[in-house]
């Protein structure tokens, strides 16, 4: 099963000068799964994402995406993976439709106009499609961003903090989109600082702390990491936030 993992990372290390951001990361993401990568600011989530998106070279270790090595087979990795950035990298001067058509041309898929129209409809952007992306609300822009990354049907989608800066309504829209993606068979790697986001969306949750994955499991598995209280006056499941803080503290 591990052979078939959509993303496979072994012993990944990366330093910037004296700063050791990644100190030996091991991680597998199964095909069609949603994995949430949790970590505090500066834990190295974005560094890890940039390495598997071929934007940054690791100092040591290896990573494969869809069976392709990020260093040796970078072009195939770029075919297999789509990344959406933290800051919603859409072209603000182009319209929503033009953004999608451009992506289709750059991914070398035929019939970009039809694909663009289909995606606009699927993401409730048909009416906004002929407006400049710069006029979109945060939620619309993020939907366009995700729609752009679906062109060419990449096997893996990396969402780097997809709901940062969004209002609750827009967050729910993005969450729905991500769930739809995974149910259609796309593998999703999601980085987030918002623990309820991981709780709602992810099949598995991995916690990146001080350059290593210190916990990796399903939510019930993570919940069991906390000892159950013996006397409870109020019945209450520990939230992922409590688990996160507890496992991080235990490591220190």
């Amino acid at each position: 099963m591990k052979q078939d993992a959509a993303i496979r990372i072994r012993g990944l290390e990366k330093s910037f000068g004296e700063l050791h951001v990644l100190r030996g990361v091991d991680l597998d993401v199964d095909r069609g799964a949603i994995l949430a990568l949790l970590g505090s600011n500066g834990a190295g989530k974005t560094t890890m994402v940039r390495i598997i998106a071929t934007l940054l070279r690791a100092d040591r270790g290896e990573a494969t995406v869809n069976g392709f090595d990020v260093r040796a087979d970078a072009p195939q990795v770029r075919e297999s993976l789509s990344m959406t950035g933290q800051f919603a990298a859409v072209d603000e001067i182009l319209t929503g439709r033009e953004n999608l058509v451009l992506m289709a041309r750059l991914r070398h898929v035929a019939d970009g106009r039809r694909i663009a129209d289909d995606l606009l409809a699927r993401f409730d952007l048909t009416e906004a499609g002929s407006r400049r992306a710069g006029t979109y609300s945060g939620g619309m822009r993020r939907r366009l961003d995700i729609a752009m990354s679906l062109i060419g049907d990449p096997a893996v989608i990396v969402l780097d903090e997809p709901t940062t800066g969004l209002d609750p309504q827009a967050r729910l829209e993005v969450w729905r989109t991500v769930k739809d993606l995974a149910s259609a068979g796309t593998t999703v790697l999601l980085t987030t600082q918002m623990l309820d986001e991981a709780e709602h969306l992810a099949d598995r949750i991995a916690i990146l702390h001080e350059g290593r994955i210190i916990v990796n499991g399903t939510l019930p598995e993570l919940t069991r990491l906390l000892p159950p209280a013996e006397i409870e006056y109020v019945e209450k499941q520990p939230t992922l936030e409590e688990i996160f803080l507890a496992v991080v503290a235990a490591k220190n």
């Binding site: 934007l55 789509s82 990344m83 950035g85 750059l106 070398h108």
Partner: protein, 252 residues
């Protein structure tokens, strides 16, 4: 070369040209300062400058064209910087596109924008009484030199575009280039300049380029100066293109 190079460059060129089409102010600003200098020198200082030619505007235009290019290419650094800052640059780089097409699209955009600005400046000069005895061949030769000079300076502008940390840093490098024509034969003949200044003026690229264009406009033989001009442009083009490509590879 990547088999997608032409297609990817065309797609990205189309994107940048749309940007220019939607905010043509960059072309207007590019042409504005050279036109102001043209007006000031022809109608204010021109009467006091002895150049040996019958109309000062005929003498002045080649230098003003060089100045137009020098101010126009700073927008390449600016546009590249904005693409990097917005995150769209990262998005393109994580996609399966020909690596160099991103830079070539910006360079060709600069060429188109500068040719439009140059046409505007020539038009204003014609209204001010500029007349040329040049035939179609000489006009094409002028065009060729201006294209070569634009490409050379644009590749130079790519470097700050890739490295700059602020918008100001991205465009500040162009200021010395804009003022280089002042210490050349562009505004006044070099004969009247004191020794060291004259030595600099006569051996910097602007003088040979300006003199060559001036001879072509006047339908006179260009002499050996044309080879000096071509060597400057060609040499700068090769060096700047290699350096920019190297910086681009290193930042990826």
């Amino acid at each position: 070369m990547d088999k997608h190079f032409v297609g990817d460059t065309t797609a990205l060129l189309g994107r940048s040209l749309r940007h220019i089409g939607r905010s043509p102010d960059t072309i207007i600003t590019t042409a504005l300062m050279p036109i102001a200098f043209l007006l000031m020198f022809v109608y204010v200082f021109g009467g006091a400058i002895r150049t040996g030619s019958d109309r000062y505007v005929n003498y002045l235009l080649p230098g003003i064209l060089v100045m137009t290019i020098a101010s126009g290419i700073s927008y390449t650094a600016y546009r590249l910087f904005l693409d990097r800052q917005s995150g769209i640059f990262e998005r393109f780089r994580s996609m399966p596109i020909a690596r160099s097409s991103l830079l070539w699209a910006h360079v060709l955009t600069s060429l188109v924008a500068n040719l439009i600005s140059l046409a505007v400046v020539v038009l204003v000069a014609l209204l001010m009484g500029f007349r040329s005895a040049a035939g179609i061949g000489a006009w094409l030769a002028v065009l060729g030199i201006l294209v070569l000079f634009t490409l050379a300076l644009t590749w130079l502008a790519v470097i700050p575009g890739l490295l700059a940390k602020t918008v100001d840093g991205a465009s500040a490098f162009a200021y010395p280039l804009i003022f280089l024509p002042f210490v050349s034969s562009a505004f006044v003949p070099t004969d009247g300049m004191p020794g060291p200044v004259r030595a600099f003026a006569e051996n910097q690229p602007v003088t040979s380029i300006v003199d060559t264009i001036r001879h072509l406009f006047a339908d006179q033989p260009v002499g050996g100066g044309v080879w000096v001009a071509l060597a400057w442009c060609g040499g700068l083009l090769v060096v700047a293109c290699l350096a920019a490509t190297r910086v681009y590879r290193r930042t990826s």
